[in-house]
Symmetry: D2
Subunit: 366 residues, 4 copies
Amino acid sequence: MAGSSYGTIFQITTWGESHGPSLGVVVDGCPAGLTLCADDIQTYLDRRKPGKTRISTQRQEADEIEILSGLFEGKTTGTPIAMMIRNTSHRSTDYSDIASYYRPGHADYTFDAKYGFRDYRGGGRSSGRETVCRVAGGAVAAKLLQEFGIRLSAYTLSIGPVKIDRAQFDADAIFTTPTGMPDRNASVLAEAYLEECMRNCDSAGGVIECIIDGVPAGLGDPVFEKLDANLCKAIMSIGAVKAMEIGDGIEVSTRSGSQNNDPFCRKDGQTVKLTNHAGGILGGISDGSRIILRAHIKPTPSIFSPQRTVNRQGEEIEIAIKGRHDPVIVPRAVVVVETMAALTIADALLLNASAKLDHLKKIYDR
Amino acid sequence: MAGSSYGTIFQITTWGESHGPSLGVVVDGCPAGLTLCADDIQTYLDRRKPGKTRISTQRQEADEIEILSGLFEGKTTGTPIAMMIRNTSHRSTDYSDIASYYRPGHADYTFDAKYGFRDYRGGGRSSGRETVCRVAGGAVAAKLLQEFGIRLSAYTLSIGPVKIDRAQFDADAIFTTPTGMPDRNASVLAEAYLEECMRNCDSAGGVIECIIDGVPAGLGDPVFEKLDANLCKAIMSIGAVKAMEIGDGIEVSTRSGSQNNDPFCRKDGQTVKLTNHAGGILGGISDGSRIILRAHIKPTPSIFSPQRTVNRQGEEIEIAIKGRHDPVIVPRAVVVVETMAALTIADALLLNASAKLDHLKKIYDR
Amino acid sequence: MAGSSYGTIFQITTWGESHGPSLGVVVDGCPAGLTLCADDIQTYLDRRKPGKTRISTQRQEADEIEILSGLFEGKTTGTPIAMMIRNTSHRSTDYSDIASYYRPGHADYTFDAKYGFRDYRGGGRSSGRETVCRVAGGAVAAKLLQEFGIRLSAYTLSIGPVKIDRAQFDADAIFTTPTGMPDRNASVLAEAYLEECMRNCDSAGGVIECIIDGVPAGLGDPVFEKLDANLCKAIMSIGAVKAMEIGDGIEVSTRSGSQNNDPFCRKDGQTVKLTNHAGGILGGISDGSRIILRAHIKPTPSIFSPQRTVNRQGEEIEIAIKGRHDPVIVPRAVVVVETMAALTIADALLLNASAKLDHLKKIYDR
Amino acid sequence: MAGSSYGTIFQITTWGESHGPSLGVVVDGCPAGLTLCADDIQTYLDRRKPGKTRISTQRQEADEIEILSGLFEGKTTGTPIAMMIRNTSHRSTDYSDIASYYRPGHADYTFDAKYGFRDYRGGGRSSGRETVCRVAGGAVAAKLLQEFGIRLSAYTLSIGPVKIDRAQFDADAIFTTPTGMPDRNASVLAEAYLEECMRNCDSAGGVIECIIDGVPAGLGDPVFEKLDANLCKAIMSIGAVKAMEIGDGIEVSTRSGSQNNDPFCRKDGQTVKLTNHAGGILGGISDGSRIILRAHIKPTPSIFSPQRTVNRQGEEIEIAIKGRHDPVIVPRAVVVVETMAALTIADALLLNASAKLDHLKKIYDR
């Protein structure tokens, strides 16, 4: 348990480093009988693939999925689904620089402190490349959720100072703008901002929002395994996320109860909420309305302008980072947020199967 | 696993409802040999105790701790420490109202959706009273952390629109103001704001900050069990928390990398960070500097002004909640945030014991 | 995680020592909606209660169950069921003897080695009294299993050299003989043997068998969480169990495959096994036939005849143990074996709820 | 959590089927700084490799290990160690037979019952081939244990009716006899017995013993996570194991306490046990003496003589199994038992690191 597994029943275990031969994920606990093929996964990996646009790293990776186990005649068998992605573009660079000092904003120093040494090639296990395995595993979760009418959609809400205009929300734009913004105008402005960052040898951060529709009421557990607590952990575990909001998030602290409570009402014969400040979760349990969350992401720590730091010999030095880096990780992180949310919802869906006697009686026909 | 346990090695399991005979917590995995007594726990419970000020619920609870196991001659034995707190002031009120409808902002509807029915007396398991067990368990964690020079301090940063002035930070005020604010002026303003809320039959939210000093570099694991991810889960699992920040949190998304990176430097022969935008955690692992987090808390959903809702028969109705409720939960939640953070750090401290061979060789003298 | 919890979804956490004020168990993960009352538990505790016969310890304990949480209007709510049993007969004996040396066959030495010291009063946490909590928790599991037509029955198969005659199997005798043997003649012989042991200041061991009927095919997971592996762990975790068998157990090692395989056949329109050497489990998964297991239990280590040992000062000494001890623990352990098996089956029943897509579709009506 | 992971801190997750492209294992939680290379693993895999002798399956598999992550400059980094073994000899046989009926003694029926269908090619996930991943993972554990002077040795104790003569114990013979027996004479007799089984189109079972030296006192936890309980689970989870013994095992049930207790005495300035009926574990915690366990293994269910069974259409039929099968799995299972024991001891070693305050103070220099 060095923390490479996520989930209680629907569980993924990931492995691999930036510059090893390959990375991979084992999905255990996926129910048997789900139709699944490599394309279901590849579609998600392609959304994260580097090198597609000017505002992403120029490292070229095919990020091609190989499914090694757990499928038979096009369906999941209930046994572990192992998947592997080969590293094809890890350059045989000289890493003596990066080995000798601690890059600000990176995990170099903390890995050395924890383990006594580190695999410094491209960040090793702390590289953002690790997230490719989350996406592969989460794609299976998303496919499972589809069977229950649960749909997730993540997108870029802002990059640096540039925010989308919600009145212009255009879901198609998520997949066609280089920023992942559902607003073409904002996306053009964000690209201009990023060009300026690159000219300044600097980088940018941003905010990703994820909405989840079709979640039945009742997922999540009342105390420590609240659905919102697990969503936050899942998404905070993505490197570079520094804050998380559910529903109206940080705004609620300045509101009064009468402003913030969502009244219940009736619609189409159902009990629903008139508003959704809560973001779809009450008392840690899904309430049947849209789940909404936001992840705040720091600017890429790898910047080309000179920085102060310390080397392993304990000397203060000035460095200039080289290599291929994303000026902003937000657009590529969108699908990582979406798939981590999918993993969390899938696990809650499975855990809830044994929450009441009626569920079990349906299964076992008693 | 219905989610009543928290922690991997240092683990608590809580039980109990608002209106049952008692609530309790079992602490398992606390190392043997820690000096511990009831007073160590009681001090923390007293910080959370209701009925002490005008701005807290008038429910009077002694919240007296009984330690039932796991201690011998004043020390922990390594076996489970069971603690119990009796409910003494649960009124035998008529709950037929609350049983028949769904209170906005509460978990009534979601409990019914999940379990088919609910213990409606005072909110049952979803009552904020549940947190008394977190505090008792977390007090043990805090005592353990003291042995390693790790000190936690949580306080109120804001209530409604009233924020503390960091230039006036006064640590003593945390324990002496009714708001838990480390700024007496701000506290007076916040009290006035709360008086107004009460007059309006309304409630307020706020923000709690927690700082943790003395954490050695190296705690937390690189991928899913990042220290910040676990802190967020721990604290998001407290009812009413709707957003979480680590370090500079939401502000980082609009910064450039050159502004946000913390340069390393040397100080007193140690490698340290010149700034601490990161809040003491890099790549999910503690970096030796102060850990900083903030929890954004919604206004108390129990308000006395009339609200729209739906009853179990599916009829739209208007209700007016009665009873004894905190107009703001922030001051009483301060110690809950602090102890949940303590539990998370204690668990990471224990998990890190087996992270490298050198650690084990020291223990087993090889 | 100092090992005081058992189960993945249906999970118990136990606490308490032989000579503390009380012992207890928290059952988490029991589905909501199960009818349950204190009597359901008490019936099981009474089967384990000491002081009822000449061949059990003369310590008198009421072993009265108190349910502290998790029930509402006679049904489980899905939240933790906390139960407590008070110690009423722990004598304020002088324990300076037992504190100063290591009793052979007991955990005195290993507790000191592990923790640096121990609560020596009556064995502390290592006392057999700990099992009262397993029985209370397992009684809830057994009640749940009844809803699905799953019935467990454990009984004494042998005490010392005295074995039951399977041809004389009498299920009623389990509850009426002081030995828990389903054969009155064998029981009389066993009692005579035990009287002799007591005269010799010695003790006896024996074998307990447990049969489980009505388990649907499909429980258990293929690799590490095999149903038989979990049953063995559950029952080996009861102090004094030194061997475990499933089905024909140790006999299979000398058989040929043609003798040991159970042919499938058809009966009443069902596929069943013609024989049941396998004991109801194939490949770690229940096959729908009767599950059979046996636990081999060592003689009580507390004997009144003189024994060699070493004291904490490292001197070889001779001791004579005093106090109230069972000359054989087998009869009282019968219900412990039965309830540990119940906990294991209940957990497997709940875990299997998400094993295939069809199960989930039934629950979520998709 | 479909049961493909084993261990709490030192944890393996395995994947793969008999006839997929490859099988693999992810080792998470191995401490950083352990010297490790592919040869360390290969040595163990070679002990399990098929096709080496007349009494093993004629399936030829190279069983060559590939390490894909977690090592840097010859040492473990603390991050997951992924390993893969390619299947090279899975014949493209016609599996329509095996797909259509249930082989007695196999998991065909139970997989269908659990999942609704199964990957029938060579047994899929239920194939003994799965154990290759346990051996690879366990080899890492064994390497770790060497650093602490802990040595494991498993061997064949009996095959069918042929037992070793303990007076002739020859440790070298374990590696040089085709049976894995530490007694050359017994091995010759066992081979003759197996030849006869093969002539009769039948198969044999046997017993494997494992001894573990150098385990420090104090490993294992008092209640549910007893060291013996975990060893039993680990080894019962190997397909075909039907009974487990610790120390004198089944013999203790007929002994008296005075015969079975192990007196403590002094030797070389240490407190040790004069005898070791207990098999190195008292109260679930290692006592510093040799740990001894035995696994009873059923005869290979795949036999060439005709058998009765039922097909998927529910018709009674007679079948004759074809293909390449071990007439006895005991010799090849020896290293599987040894490595599962190694995994269990390694995990207990790591878990014990946080059992007492003194341990932690050594690590954190407080």
